[in-house]
Subunit: 283 residues, 2 copies
Amino acid sequence: MKTYLECIPCFFKQALFAARIVLKDEMDIKHVLDRIGAILPHIPLESSPPETGREIYRIIREMTGIDDPFRELKAQSTDAALGLYPALKGVVESANDPLKTAVRVAIAGNVIDFGANPEFELEKDVRAILETQPAIDDYSLFAKKLGKAKTVLYLGDNAAETVFDKILIETMHKPVVYAVRGRAVINDATLEDARNSGLHKVATVISSGCDAPGFILSTCSREFVDHFTIADLIISKGQGNWEALSNADRPIFFLLKAKCQVVATELGVATGDTVIKYAPGRG
Amino acid sequence: MKTYLECIPCFFKQALFAARIVLKDEMDIKHVLDRIGAILPHIPLESSPPETGREIYRIIREMTGIDDPFRELKAQSTDAALGLYPALKGVVESANDPLKTAVRVAIAGNVIDFGANPEFELEKDVRAILETQPAIDDYSLFAKKLGKAKTVLYLGDNAAETVFDKILIETMHKPVVYAVRGRAVINDATLEDARNSGLHKVATVISSGCDAPGFILSTCSREFVDHFTIADLIISKGQGNWEALSNADRPIFFLLKAKCQVVATELGVATGDTVIKYAPGRG
């Protein structure tokens, strides 16, 4: 997905949110916003929002000297998600179609987002999503293709959402490679966050090698790109990954909640809708 | 009121909204945002938001060559407001306390705002406000001070809101000087807009001499400042005027709807609340 002009105010909003977590002085925070103002002319509208996100969070790291501003928030939300795990696991196991319910659970985990959706209320939002019909629902195709797949590549999004992804992975009964960010960015999951939610017990966890909040293939590691090229089935979680990969050449199942008007419009749904969308890929 | 860091994303959002009205090419619109990015370091947090608003809309005028991007929207909303006039007038005239109801009507008109509140729905929002108790309600004091006042200075805000102000002015039965912006900025009322809503029939309409979306006294005309200094009673409409005059040295009645979190927090109310607030002034 390209960058829309509407993304620009949102870049400042997200940068402010992140800078406020680690900086106390208002002028120091303003200097971060000033720097983002200065790079605006160098943000091409043809680039995807995660490419700009990468630049913004690089600026925040550089100006604050803090590598992972969201570390504490990520730990707290992972603990909260682990607290919900037994109940969600029970919901899946007692469901008529456990796989279908596990997909919904995985999408519900996508509410955990301090970038586009910092006002989420975990338990309430999760329960609402479990009861909501996705606005785009390619679940039947997903179940069919999953049945035939020998290898699955799972593209992670936020920390704590990883706990919800673990439930889907446990329900799929397939060998899964789970890819996370190459470096801390927003509250997205890193290797450390994936381990904290126990993902390493059910999947091979790898790094994308890329520090953007989305898989920008041209900057990902060779290891990741190899998995991306050969996997029988690719599952992609969240907006950032969709923004980065909506024009990719491989077939992908996108599971996400549309959190902003721009992404909702691109998908042809309403803000707040959930989506199980199969994109056949350009290849 | 000072500028909060939260105002910065909002400056970009408002500039985008205004630029979209007059520019068709996405790159031309982006250049407007780039220019605002470039002036960010020169926006002091000690200045009030309307001071920055003035700079932003100067940039939009300069880069688009269009003096009043909102002219058509202002004409449409004035027509819509004039359409509601007979019904609102009837509500006031049949009320137990016509002045109290007219004050509510004037506040209801403050929903018309293509800056902080572009998604308003005129008739629905007006009816809701008429039935809502203001979160700060200094109406009794207002009625008392109005009774003693020989001269009233009324500080206008948006075009079309002027129609609602006219109803309050007709109900006050006092000589009123009504001040508007010195030049088109957002959808704020100018001399032309005031005339289009018939305000000149019930008040002496003057210009502030200032092109900001708020009365910044240091840049207002001598004529305006004289009225501001000697008026027995000052009524100020809307957020922009409150932001510019919240620390003024003269007593002022502020009538407004709190449209953003920053202003709501400063006033100690919730976003969406209405306010009849007496500020005794520093003088």
